[in-house]
């Protein structure tokens, strides 16, 4: 039996994470505690920093030195990380940030589940930027998604955020540590050219420049200022434009590789539930109950939250006349669903922000309502 937070740790170690910096916060603390034991066993490094700003700073520094690195936090700490998150985006530094969500705003509900950080994960740091955000609805997924998070961060040179619901982080489920299907581990592509030919922020067809680690002979400049292809600050529009465009393109042109989710009984569904995290579990139950009653309901479970799985929603819209979007917030991802829907189907939202989970029964009620 493994806890969600424990599975995150196992996934991180399996992915090759050897550096963790963090600041304790419920409900993510177990991740710190376990890594403080396990990282030194594998010659990795754990450090408890003075706050979450420092934690992400240290993580970025470690990654630049060539070590896969992560931090874990919850809402208040995630807010503090936003500035350095933007740094990791603009300087294209791979790193993983796990946010075990709790009720907000502010100190909010430290021990209660919520999904209130979906938009903060997307837009929390200032300026236009792409981001990858993943979620998990089972303990096994905590493990797998953490591996994918490291892989994506290394592959696309970007911070990746993993949003986990408090109940998933703390639930215990049976799980073996061997992967169900072997997930290949991806490491950043390093330059192969001699140092004098290295262009650290070169525009390549894939949009992802090779990354040299500090101390390996490729001396270059890393900055949070908008920079040219050599990494030096620039204010030239003809350099700024292509740079920002590439930052977006390197994610957008790989949309299909980043999309992870599950279509559950959606082929003939007249009603489709779009859900993520622990809510997707309740939704799956509701689908089974509804099917037993002869109602054609399906579930689109989103593991990738951002970039939004637009094409998957479009696919379920081919058969469904009703979309139900249950979320433990006031309606964050449902806005995105509505944008894709553009009036095609009826979109019903279920929003709960009282610190309790959305039950299969609550979803079932809306299914019956929608049917009548």
């Amino acid at each position: 039996m493994l806890q969600g937070n424990e599975a995150v740790v196992e996934g991180a170690l399996r992915a090759g994470c050897r550096f963790f910096a963090g600041y304790p916060i419920t409900p993510a603390t177990e991740i710190s505690e376990i890594l403080s034991v396990k990282l030194p066993q594998v010659d990795g490094t754990f450090i408890q920093m003075e706050d979450e700003i420092a934690s992400l700073g240290a993580v970025i520094g470690a990654s630049l030195a060539g070590v896969k690195a992560m931090t874990a936090t919850s809402g208040p700490g995630f807010s503090l990380m936003q500035e350095n998150l933007g740094f990791a985006v603009i300087a294209e530094v791979p790193c993983v940030i796990v946010n075990v969500m709790r009720g907000g705003p502010s100190t909010g509900l430290p021990t209660s589940p919520a999904q209130g950080d979906v938009m903060q994960a997307r837009w929390g740091t200032h300026g236009d930027h792409p981001i990858i955000v993943l979620s998990a609805s089972t303990v096994r997924e905590c493990y797998e998604v953490t591996i994918h998070a490291f892989n994506f961060s290394e592959k696309y040179r970007t911070p990746v955020i993993v949003l986990i619901d408090e109940v998933v982080a703390h639930m215990r489920e049976k799980m073996t540590l061997d992967d169900e299907e072997k997930i290949e581990i991806f490491n950043r592509v390093k330059p192969t050219v001699p140092p004098e030919w290295y262009i650290p922020y070169e525009d390549t067809p894939r949009g992802i420049p090779a990354m040299a680690n500090f101390g390996e002979g490729y001396r270059y400049h890393v900055t949070g200022l908008t920079h040219d292809i050599r990494g030096f600050p620039t204010s030239r529009p003809d350099e700024i434009g292509p740079f920002i465009a590439r930052l977006h393109r390197k994610i957008s042109q790989h949309f299909s590789e980043i999309q992870m989710g599950e279509f559950y009984q959606t082929e003939d569904a007249e009603i489709t539930i779009v859900a993520y995290g622990c809510v997707a579990r309740s939704a799956k139950r509701a689908v089974r109950e509804a099917r037993e009653k002869g109602i054609k309901v399906g579930l689109l479970k989103l593991t990738t939250i951002w970039p939004f799985m637009r094409s998957s929603v479009e696919k379920v819209l081919q058969s469904s006349k009703v979309l139900i979007v249950p979320e433990m917030n006031m309606g964050q991802l449902s806005r995105e669903v509505k944008r894709v829907n553009r009036g095609i189907a009826k979109v019903i939202t279920i929003n709960k922000v009282d610190g309790t989970i959305i039950t299969p029964g609550e979803i079932m009620n809306r299914i019956t309502e929608a049917k009548s």
Binding site: R18, F19, A21, V37, K38, P40, Q41, D43, T45, I47, M49, E50, D51, I53, A54, S55, L56, G57, A58, V59, I60, G61, A62, S63, L64, A65, G66, V67, A69, E83, N84, F87, N213, F214, G215, E216, G217, R219, Y220, H221, V222, T223, G224, L225, R230, F232, P233
Partner: protein
């Protein structure tokens, strides 16, 4: 070309677009020279040096030199440096900060880095002002001085950066000025050679902002002020607090031994491995 100029050129990035961003007469260039001379004397390889900075006029320093350079966010340089050093201890990590950078927005990181005794060298350019943003008061602006946000008068007391570093546990703390260039060279060299968290506070001038607002004269006049107000630590020990009020105490303030973080962490790794062997 003078030998000293040649030396600096050996370390400058020639593919970087010059001119630099600093005002003519600014003290940051002198600090850069001192740093390069110290590095050259010790004989570090360019590849093993990581120069990390925060945001500010002083934070712009790394971009010009041919090391691994990292220009971070305002106040956070030490946190990034901590990550670099712990991830790859073989690197020599040097951190450049301004006074606002180090003890205003980054004050918390500063005291904790000192307390942890991670093997880093922090060089802080103290010009008593936020230079980059146009001359607002900083935590080191003395009481009674003017800035663009204290046009009537600064009513706050100032931090003494070096004393703060001593109290926070830094194992080496030295203070110099950009006027006393030779001393600065040796302080930086000693700090670089010291294992553990070492600090060099560099008293400098920002004649274009702070100097102008307080009618302190040109860069040269402000450097003369540094000359006239500096007192060596040894002499300061014999003086009364009243006599020292407007003085800058220069020299080595602390040089002591404490367990270094990385060495301690290596022991933790050994203990952690024993627990799995058992």
């Amino acid at each position: 070309m003078a030998e000293i100029t040649k030396l600096i050129h050996k370390y400058l990035r020639h593919d970087k677009k010059f001119p630099h961003v600093w005002c003519p007469g600014c003290g940051i260039g002198i600090m850069l020279g001192a740093l390069i001379r110290a590095i050259d004397r010790i004989g570090y390889e360019k590849d093993e040096i990581v120069l990390v900075s925060g945001i500010g006029c002083s934070g712009r320093l790394p971009v010009y030199v041919d090391f691994n350079t990292l220009h971070t966010t305002h106040g956070r340089a030490l946190t990034f440096a901590t990550g670099v050093k712990l991830a790859k201890p073989s690197l020599k990590v040097i951190v450049i900060m301004g006074d606002g950078d180090a003890v205003a927005i980054g004050g918390n990181h500063f005291i904790h880095a000192a307390r942890r005794n991670i093997d880093l060298t922090a060089i802080i350019l103290n010009n008593s002002v936020y230079g980059m943003t146009g001359g607002q008061y900083s935590p080191t602006t003395p009481y009674g001085m003017r800035s663009t946000t204290t046009v009537y008068s600064n009513i706050e007391q100032d931090f003494k950066i070096s004393e703060l570093a001593v109290t926070a546990g830094a194992v080496f703390v030295g203070r110099g000025t950009v006027y006393h260039a030779k001393l600065l060279d040796s302080l930086i060299e000693k700090a670089l050679l010291k294992k553990g968290f070492s600090v060099v506070e560099v008293i400098s001038h920002c004649h274009t902002q702070y100097g102008r607002q307080n009618r302190l004269g040109s860069a040269v006049e402000m450097m003369e002020w540094q000359r006239d107000h500096a007192v060596a630590v040894e002499k300061a020990a014999t003086m009364k607090p009243e006599e020292l009020r407007d003085k800058i105490v220069i020299g080595v303030l602390v040089d002591k031994e404490l367990p270094v973080y990385q060495d301690e962490y290596d022991k933790i790794r050994e203990r952690a491995k024993e627990t799995i062997r058992r």
